[in-house]
Symmetry: C2
Subunit: 495 residues, 2 copies
C-alpha cells in the first residue's frame, strides 16, 4: 500500500468523524421525536459517551502535524478549500482545555434545566445566579478562542456559527436596520389597523394538517427518498444529508403557523439534500454557516412562502385538506401570513418585527462578552430596548422578556445574529435571482419553481463550504451582504 499523504489522512479522519456524527444526529432526532420520557437517562448517557469518543478522535495528537504537513502539499483549489475547513473545524473543536469544556457543560446543563421552571415562575433572581456562571465561562471561552484565532473575543464566538462575520460589520448592519426599522414597523401597524380580526374555523385534526404539510413539501420538491416529516416540541431540521428529518408541531386551532413552519424547515432540508455528494463526509461539503442555512429556510418561508403567488397556490390545498366545509378566502389567508404586530416573544414574531428582537439580543450579548455590561443589567436594558424598537415594556415581566430564550442558558453566544443575517441574505439572493431571471415571478405565479430551485442549487446548495461566506454571496449576487435588499423587500411587501 502506498503511504497516504497528510491530506489523505485528514480525509480519512474526517470521514470517520462524519459516521459518528451520523449516529449522533439520528439518536438526537429520535430523542426529540420518538423517544418516550423514560428513555431519556440512558439516551443522555449514550450520547455523552459518543461525545467523548468524538472528542478523543478530534483531539488526537497527529492532527496538528497532518494539518501542517498538508498545508505544504501541492493541493488543487478544491483541496485547499477542504483543508481550510478542516483546519477551522479542528481549531473550533480543540480550542478549549478539557476542564473548561467540562465546567461549561455542567454550568449550562444546570442553568438550562433550572430555567425551565424559573421562567414559568418569573424568577429572575434565581436565574441570574446561574446565568452569571454561564456567562463567566463564556467570557473565558471567548478570550481563549480569541487568543487562538487572533480575532476579538466576541468575533471568535461569532466564528463558531457565522465564520468570517465580525462585530464591526454587525454593528454597521444592525445600525442600518435601526435607522429605518422601528419607523417602518409603526407605519405598517398603522396601515393594518383597519384589518378585520382574524379567526379560524378549527379544530384542524393533526392527521389532516400533516397531509397538507406533505403536499406542500412535495410542491417544494422535498425528496422523500431522503427524508421525512415528524412532530417535535420545538421544530427543527435534523438527520443527515442523505436522510433529512424535519419536524413541526400541530396546533388544533391554528394550522397556519405549523404550515409555514414546514415551508421553513423544507428550505433547510433542501439545502442539506442538495449538498454535493462527493464531499458529504468532509467539512468542505457541509452547509456554509448558520446564517446561510437560515437564508435558505427564510428564502422558502419569507421570499417564496409569503409571496402573493405562493399563498394563491396554497389556498386550494388548504381548502382541500382542512376547510372543505367553509372554504377560506385568499385575502383571509394572506392576512394571516402578512399581519404585523409587535409582541414580546421572538419565536412568535412576524417577518417585520423579528429583526428587532435579534438586534436587541445581539447588542446585549456583545456587550456582555466585552464586559461593558453585567448580567445584572440585562432586565433594565431589555426593557429600554423593547420600548425603543417595539414600543413594549417588559418591566418586571422576565418570563416574556429576558428569560424567554434557551440560547444563553445553553451557552450559545454569537448565535442570534444568524437569524437576521439569514433574512438579509435571503432578500439579497431573491433580488439577484429576479435580476438574473426576470420572468421568475411569472413562473412562480403559475406554480413553476424550477428556475428558483435551479438558481439556489447552482449558487448556494452545490457550493457547500467551498467558498468563505463573503465570496459565496459575491459570486451569487455580485456583492457582499447589503441590507438594502432586505429593506426594499419589506417596504415592497408591507407598505
Amino acid at each position: 500500500m502506498t503511504k497516504q499523504t497528510a491530506y489523505q489522512q485528514l480525509c480519512e479522519h474526517f470521514k470517520h468523524l462524519s459516521k459518528l456524527s451520523h449516529l449522533n444526529s439520528i439518536c438526537g432526532w429520535d430523542q426529540a421525536t420518538m423517544m418516550p420520557d423514560g428513555g431519556n437517562q440512558a439516551r443522555a448517557e449514550a450520547l455523552a459517551e459518543l461525545a467523548v469518543i468524538i472528542h478523543e478522535k478530534s483531539t488526537r495528537p497527529e492532527m496538528e502535524e497532518w494539518l501542517q504537513q498538508a498545508a505544504q502539499q501541492n493541493l488543487n483549489p478544491m483541496q485547499q478549500a477542504s483543508l481550510r475547513e478542516m483546519t477551522r473545524s479542528w481549531r473550533n473543536q480543540t480550542a478549549l482545555p478539557a476542564d473548561l469544556v467540562k465546567a461549561k457543560s455542567l454550568a449550562t446543563a444546570h442553568c438550562e434545566h433550572a430555567w425551565r421552571d424559573q421562567r414559568g415562575a418569573n424568577d429572575w433572581k434565581a436565574f441570574q445566579v446561574n446565568l452569571q456562571a454561564v456567562m463567566q465561562l463564556a467570557i473565558e471561552e471567548a478570550q481563549i478562542r480569541a487568543d487562538k484565532t487572533g480575532l476579538n473575543p466576541y468575533d471568535a464566538m461569532l466564528d463558531l456559527y457565522e465564520p468570517g462575520m465580525q462585530m464591526q460589520r454587525l454593528d454597521k448592519v444592525f445600525g442600518e436596520l435601526q435607522s429605518w426599522l422601528p419607523e417602518l414597523i409603526t407605519q405598517v401597524v398603522a396601515k393594518q389597523a383597519n384589518w378585520p380580526t382574524l379567526s379560524l374555523n378549527g379544530p384542524f385534526p393533526s392527521e389532516q394538517q400533516k397531509e397538507l404539510g406533505l403536499a406542500v413539501m412535495e410542491k417544494l420538491q422535498f425528496n422523500f427518498k431522503h427524508g421525512r416529516l415528524d412532530v417535535s416540541a420545538h421544530p427543527f431540521c435534523g438527520g443527515v444529508p442523505s436522510d433529512v428529518r424535519i419536524t413541526t408541531r400541530y396546533e388544533d386551532e391554528d394550522f397556519t403557523r405549523s404550515l409555514m413552519g414546514i415551508v421553513h424547515e423544507t428550505g433547510h432540508a433542501r439545502y442539506e439534500q442538495n449538498l454535493p455528494l462527493d464531499y458529504l463526509d468532509l467539512p468542505v461539503g457541509q452547509a456554509r454557516s448558520m446564517g446561510i442555512h437560515e437564508s435558505q429556510s427564510l428564502f422558502f418561508e419569507m421570499q417564496l412562502g409569503r409571496s402573493q403567488a405562493f399563498v394563491e397556490q396554497l389556498l386550494p390545498l388548504v381548502n382541500q385538506h382542512l376547510c372543505q366545509q367553509q372554504p377560506m378566502q385568499l385575502e383571509e389567508l394572506k392576512q394571516h401570513y402578512l399581519s404585523v404586530k409587535p409582541g414580546y416573544i421572538r419565536v412568535d414574531a412576524d417577518e417585520l418585527t423579528y429583526p428587532a428582537h435579534v438586534m436587541l439580543r445581539y447588542e446585549l450579548e456583545r456587550d456582555l462578552i466585552n464586559q461593558d455590561i453585567k448580567v445584572a443589567d440585562i432586565p433594565e436594558l431589555w426593557d429600554q430596548k423593547m420600548q425603543q424598537y417595539l414600543g413594549l415594556s417588559t418591566k418586571g415581566n422576565y418570563r416574556d422578556g429576558c428569560m424567554q430564550d434557551v440560547h444563553w442558558p445553553a451557552g450559545l453566544i454569537g448565535y442570534f445574529p444568524s437569524y437576521s443575517l439569514g433574512a438579509m441574505y435571503a432578500a439579497q439572493f431573491h433580488a439577484a435571482l429576479v435580476k438574473a431571471k426576470p420572468d421568475t415571478p411569472q413562473a412562480v405565479a403559475k406554480g413553476n419553481y424550477d428556475e428558483v430551485f435551479a438558481w439556489l442549487q447552482q449558487n448556494i446548495w452545490s457550493q457547500a463550504s467551498i467558498y468563505e461566506t463573503d465570496e459565496l454571496v459575491s459570486r451569487a449576487t455580485g456583492e457582499t451582504l447589503n441590507t438594502r435588499y432586505f429593506e426594499q423587500h419589506l417596504r415592497n411587501r408591507y407598505l
Copy 2:
C-alpha cells in the same frame, strides 16, 4: 483516587460497551421503522463504523488480564455471576480471528443479498454456491469456538444463543417431540376437519388496528413510558430496556396475525422492561438467552394469548375497534387462533406444527456442522422430513422449502432451536405458575393478570442472567426442561 480492582475495571468496560450498544439498537430500530430508502447507505456505513469501535473496545488487550485477576478476587455470589457472564460475553466476542470475521461478514452479506432474488426465482443452484461458502465458514467458526470452549462444534454455536444447551440434550428433546407430535397433528387436523371456512369482513384500516393493538398492550401492562409500538416489514422487539421498541405489520384484510404478533412482542418487551435496573449495563443484567426470551413472548402469545379466557377478553376490544358494524362471535375469533393446518412456511405456522419446522432445521444444521451431510443434500432431506413430519412434499419447491429462511444465509447457525425451546419453557412456566397459584385461571378469566405477571417478574424477569438457564428453570419450576408440559398443554388445548 483509590486504584480500581480488576472487577471494577471490567464493570467500567462493560458499561461503556453498553452505551455504544444503545446507539446501535436505536439506529438499527430506526433503519427498520423510520428510515427512508435513500438513507440506507450512509446508515450502513455509520453502523459499520460503530461495529469497528465496539470490536476494538471488546478486544482490548487488558481484558484477558482483568478477567484472570477478577477470578482471583474475593467476589460475592452476584459478582461471581456477573464475572461469569462477562467472561462468556468476552469469549464469544473475541473467539474468532479478524480475517474469519471479515470473510464471514462478506460471505453472509453476499449470500443474504443474492438470496432475496434467488428465493423469488426458486433458484437453488445459484443459492447453493453461496450457501456452501457461508456453511464452510460456519464449520470453521464452530471448530474454533469448540477449541476455545471445550465444547463440541455445534454446541459451541448453540452456546451463542442458548448458553449451556447441547446437541445431546436437543436430540433427546426433539426425539421426544418426534414420538408424539406428527400423530397429534394428524389427530387435530381430523378433529378440525368440519370447522367452517374462516373469513373476515375487512378491510381493517391500519390506524384502527393500531388503536386495538395499543389497547391490548395496555391490558398486558406494557409500560409506555419506557417503550413504543411501530411498523416494520419484519416484526421485532428492539431498543433498550429503558426504551423498548416493538413493531408489527398490519394487513388490510386480516387483523388477527398482527394482533397476536403484538401480544408476542409485548412478551419480549415486558421481559426487557423488567430486567433489574441495577445491572442493566452489565452482561449479568441482560436477558438469559434466546430460548428464555422466546419463552416470554410465547408465554404471552400461546399460554396466555390463545387461551379461552384471553380470547374472551379480546373479543369486545376487537368488536369495539374493528367490527362495530358486524360484530365477531367468540367461536369465530377462537377458531382463527386455534386453527391447525400443516403448511410449508415456518413463520406462518400455527402453535402445533411450528415445532416440526424447527425440528427439521435443527437436524439439518446439526448434521451440516458435523459434516455428516453436505449443502447439496439439503433439498432432498428437506422434502423427506416435511413428508415425515407434516405430510407435505417440497420437491422442486425450494422457495417454500429450504430457501424460505434468512437465518442460514445470514450465518445464524444454532439459532433455530431457541424457538421451540421457548415454547417448551413457556408451557413449563405456565404449569408451575398454576401449581403455585391454583386460582390463577379464575383470575385470568376475569381479566386480572396480576398474579401471572408477579410470577414472571419474580421467577424470570428479575433474574436476568444471574443463574445459568438450567438453574433459572429449576428455581422457577422445580425441575430442568421437561417436554411433558408442552405435550400436555397441546393435548389439552387441541384434542
